[in-house]
Each structure stands twice: as C-alpha cells, then as structure tokens.
C-alpha cells in the first residue's frame, strides 16, 4: 500500500481522516495498554495478587473483587 493509496483511502476526505484518527487512537491505546500490562505482569510473576489468589486456592467469586 503505497502512500498515494493511503492518502486516497484515508486522508482525502476530512470526515474519513478524523474517523481514522479516532479509531486509530482507540485501537492504539487498547493494544498498547494490554501489551504493557502483559509484560508488567509477566515481569512480576509470582508477586501479584492473582498468583497469590491461585496459590491460596480462593474460589472464583461472582462479585468483582478488583
């Protein structure tokens, strides 16, 4: 996909351009956040509450306990 076709598809019409910015921001922040969280939790494996919870054998609770 050359730059010309990217321009034609996404940038030419302002409404599409703004939509691209919004959708791109949304997609970026979800993927970025989940990637960072995944790395962070892997880096701290064994110290986090979810690991402790599994170790003490606490049952999964219906209520949200965050």
């Amino acid at each position: 996909m050359s730059f010309a076709s990217v321009y034609k598809v996404l940038f030419k019409r302002n409404s599409i351009f703004v939509g691209t910015v919004f959708v791109g921001a949304f997609l970026f922040q979800t993927t970025f956040d989940s990637a960072i969280t995944k790395w962070y939790e892997n880096h701290n494996k064994g110290k986090l509450w979810k690991d402790v919870k599994a170790r003490i054998g606490a049952p999964e609770e219906a209520e949200d306990d965050e």
Binding site: L48, D51, R55, A58, D65
Partner: protein, 308 residues
C-alpha cells in the same frame, strides 16, 4: 601695612588654634575607635572560645541523637518496574492484626482497599463483620451498633488519643496508615527498628522508666518494646514465622498501606515514559525535517558587473 600685619597675625593665630583643636579631636576619635575594635575582637575571640569549648561536650548531630541509619534492604518493590509481593502483604496483614493492632491504629485504610490486594472479597467482608460500628439511632433515638462493611475504615484499638496515652504510660502509639512515608528511611527504617532491639542497652545509656533502647530510633529511647519473636504468629501458607520474616511482611504491608497506588503507578509510569519519549524523538525528527531546507540553504551574492 601695619593693620594688615596685625590682621595676618590674628588670622594665623586663629587658624593655628583651629588646627590644634581639629588635631586633638581626630586623635581622640582614633583612640576610641581603636578601643572599640579591640573590644569587638576580644568579644569575638571569647565567644568563639566558649562555643568551641561547648562543642567538645555537645551531643548534637550524633548517631545517638538522629538514630542509627538503617541499612538498605532488597525489597521486592525495589526497582522501577517491580510490584509489591502480595503474598507478603497478606502475611503482613496477619502480623498487623495479631501483633501491632493491639496498640496501633490504621485509621486511613478502609476494608475495601484490601480486596484484590491481599484478600478476597468474602474474606474481607468476614474480617470487617467481626467489628462493631456506630449505626443510625433507632426510632426512639437510642444509639445502635452494626457489623462492619467493606466501606468502613479499619477500627483502631483505642477510642481516642487520651485513651491510647493512658494505656501506654503516656506514650502515643502512632497511626500506621502512612508510617512508611512518614519516617526517614521508609521500609528500611521500619524493618531495622522492629528487628533492632538489643538484649541489653549499651553501657552508659540511661533510659526513662518504661522506655526501651533501640539504636535506630532517634534518641535511642523508645516507648515500644520488642514485640516480634520467632513463631509469634502461624502463617497459613506455611512460611516459617521468624522475627525477620514477620518484620519484613508487616513492613511490606505497611508500605502498601502508605502507597496503595504503588503497583498501578509503576505500570502507568512505564506507559508514560514510553509514550513521552517516543513523542520527544518524533518531535526531534519533525524539527530536523522542517528545518532541513532552511539549514541547508545557500546564499550567493553576484555583484553587478562594473560598467565599462
């Protein structure tokens, strides 16, 4: 001529008299200022001498006054991307509940904050229900009590400061909610203090009645005695409950109580650093891109050809 000479004589006499007076005054002024300078110098030397003599016996700025500096320990949360050890927080709460809570309050920590950190929802609910809280009065205006809820704060051992002092020989056990942030050295200090009680105070240390010696406490004389002894509590996960293990766990718990946002803060900080540094590098590139044309511009001057 005659009259002139008389006038001259009178004038010169007067001038001599004036000169003499002026000389006398200046001599007097010089001697008095010399006297002042000598006095000031003497006073300065005396003051310095007295201060120096005092400093030979002064006890200011010593380890005894400020407390021994605690060593730095290898905490689980040391480092920019490290979280607390939540198993340790869980054990630390047990130590707090079974040992520290006899005297120390934890006023600023609500039960609900433990949920998802060290205990499950139902565990915390059960723990909160063991305590009674003031409820709305009934229809006749009589005060009522109710069991605790997740939204309540953890209750302290004493109803007020006076009761706490009366029960502890006048010493007030500090609230532990923010104690790690409130002490120099933080976790290192708390751990050192808890494990730093010697068997006997050193020679020459005079302690007030009821006080204990701890080198890490500023002044050395602390109202709290040694409280952690091996196997004082029984951990549910089978960790051997040594003095240092309990001290580490309770310190970790208190550090969490002081900084409940800690783990999330480090995660967000990582994100912020990545985003901000990429934006910075991007801005450097954009600046170079936009200025490239201007920086590489070349001006030439072609002088007009001289007319022949």
């Amino acid at each position: 001529m005659f009259s002139k000479s008389i006038f001259n004589r009178v004038a010169s006499k007067a001038a001599a008299r004036t000169m003499a007076t002026a000389a006398g005054t200046s001599a007097k002024a010089a001697s008095s200022s010399k006297f002042l300078i000598t006095g000031a110098a003497l006073a300065g030397v005396t003051a310095s001498g007295l201060l120096y003599a005092d400093s030979l016996t002064a006890n200011a700025m010593t380890a005894a006054e400020h407390g021994l500096h605690s060593p730095e320990f290898d905490w689980p949360q040391n480092g920019p991307f490290e979280t607390f050890d939540h198993a340790s927080i869980r054990r630390g709460y047990q130590v707090y509940r079974e040992v520290c809570a006899a005297c120390h309050s934890l006023d600023r920590v609500a039960w609900r904050t433990l949920v998802g950190v060290s205990h499950t929802n139902s565990e915390v609910k059960a723990m909160a229900e063991e305590f009674e809280y003031d409820d709305e009065p009934d229809d006749d205006g009589n005060p009522k009590k109710r069991p605790g809820k997740l939204a309540d704060n953890i209750p302290g051992p004493y109803p007020n400061e006076q009761a706490a002092r009366a029960a502890n020989q006048g010493a007030l056990p500090p609230d532990l909610s923010l104690i790690v942030k409130a002490r120099h050295g933080g976790s290192d200090y708390i751990f050192s203090l808890l494990t730093g009680y010697p068997e006997e105070p050193p020679e020459g240390v005079v302690l007030p009645v009821g006080a204990n010696y701890n080198p890490y406490f500023p002044g050395g004389s602390i109202a709290m005695g040694r409280v952690l002894f091996d196997d004082l509590v029984e951990y549910e996960d089978g960790t051997p409950a040594t003095t240092s293990q309990m001290a580490k766990d309770v310190t970790q718990f208190l550090n969490w109580a002081s900084e409940p946002e800690h783990d999330e803060r480090k995660r967000q900080g990582l994100k912020a650093i990545i985003i901000l540094s990429s934006l910075y590098l991007l801005s450097v590139w954009v600046k170079k891109f936009k200025w490239a044309g201007i920086k590489t511009r070349k001006f030439t001057f072609t002088p007009p050809k001289p007319r022949k």
